[in-house]
């Protein structure tokens, strides 16, 4: 019972990671920018699925709504407004791409060299051993979670705590974020509006 659930989760992880990374490569290499935006949407949905395998349901929903629903739509509208960007005859990468590939490959090698070696992470209490600090137990399914209830008890608890933390300990960043959104809204309107011809608006 436990093992089958675990293997299903592992399978979901592998599929989501492979599809997400593949569509991410398409996003940065494909010539047609509309196709690139749609590949980016697929990547973001795969990342949302990875959030689900990490039991971060609210984050997965927010990711699907805001990234895929809003940001991708905004990108597509901007691509359609800009003439000639979707032309696939134009090369969309600059002539320095071997250097870019070298830098990205070097960065990937550096990151992977750190990631695959958890003994060097320096995470957790130093005396208790990093093995126990960073390698936690695998997922344990809540018994009776899928029958009849609307939410698992652990997820309900997580959501409750998230809301509580967001409106108590992180209340100031929360309000600042809303102010940031307002400022970004006004700034985007000001930046994107047509410049009027007049004595005070020299081009």
């Amino acid at each position: 019972m436990n093992l089958t659930w675990l293997s299903g989760n592992n399978l979901a992880f592998y599929v989501l990671a492979l599809v997400g990374l593949g569509t991410a490569v398409l996003t940065v290499t494909v010539r047609n920018m509309v196709h690139a935006a749609l590949s980016l949407a697929a990547t973001l949905l795969c990342v949302a699925g990875l959030y689900l395998t990490l039991q971060a349901d609210l984050i997965a929903g927010v990711q699907a709504l805001i990234y895929v629903g809003a940001i991708i739509t905004l990108l597509l509208v901007a691509i359609m407004l800009i003439h000639g960007i979707a032309d696939r005859r134009i090369s969309q990468t600059n002539r320095n791409w071997p250097f870019g590939l070298a830098v990205a490959g070097g960065l990937a090698a550096l990151l992977l060299a750190v990631v695959v070696n958890p003994a060097n992470w320096n995470v957790g209490p130093p005396q208790s051993g990093t093995e126990r600090a960073v390698r936690t137990e695998a997922f344990h399914p809540v018994p009776g979670a899928t029958e009849g209830r609307t939410l698992e008890p652990s997820l309900q608890r997580q959501l409750n705590e998230l809301g509580k933390v967001l409106l108590s300990r992180y209340l100031l960043p929360f309000e600042v974020a809303s102010l940031l959104l307002l400022v970004a809204l006004v700034g985007a309107i000001v930046l994107a509006q047509e410049v009027r011809k007049g004595p005070h608006h020299e081009p």
Binding site: V28, Q55, I59, A78, G84, N94
Partner: protein, 100 residues
């Protein structure tokens, strides 16, 4: 899955984003690569929140990152459209007014 698998995926995602940001010619492609890098960082935050912290603080931070990413996308695309209105293209190699 353990923590390393998620960190591996996030590292690869970040590197792909770096490659795109360095090699794309138009500004919208660069913005897309930035979104890839932000997502890699978010994936790391959620993974650490799940496996190391056992709480929700990492998820709170991801919510703020997503908020800032939305604001960045809106302002960035407005700048791109304003650039297109002035230059009739958004090829970042040829937009070098501030270079010399």
């Amino acid at each position: 899955m353990n923590l390393e698998a998620y960190l591996l995926v996030a590292a690869l995602l970040f590197s792909i984003g770096v490659f795109g940001a360095l090699t794309r010619r138009n500004a919208i492609g660069i913005l897309m690569s930035l979104e890839l890098m932000l997502n890699a960082a978010n994936l790391n935050l959620v993974a650490f929140s799940r496996f190391v912290e056992h709480g929700v603080v990492g998820q709170v931070f991801v919510l703020f990152v997503i908020t800032v990413a939305a604001a960045e996308a809106a302002v960035g695309l407005a700048i791109v459209i304003s650039l297109y209105r002035n230059f009739k293209h958004i090829n970042v190699e040829d937009i070098d007014l501030l270079k010399w």
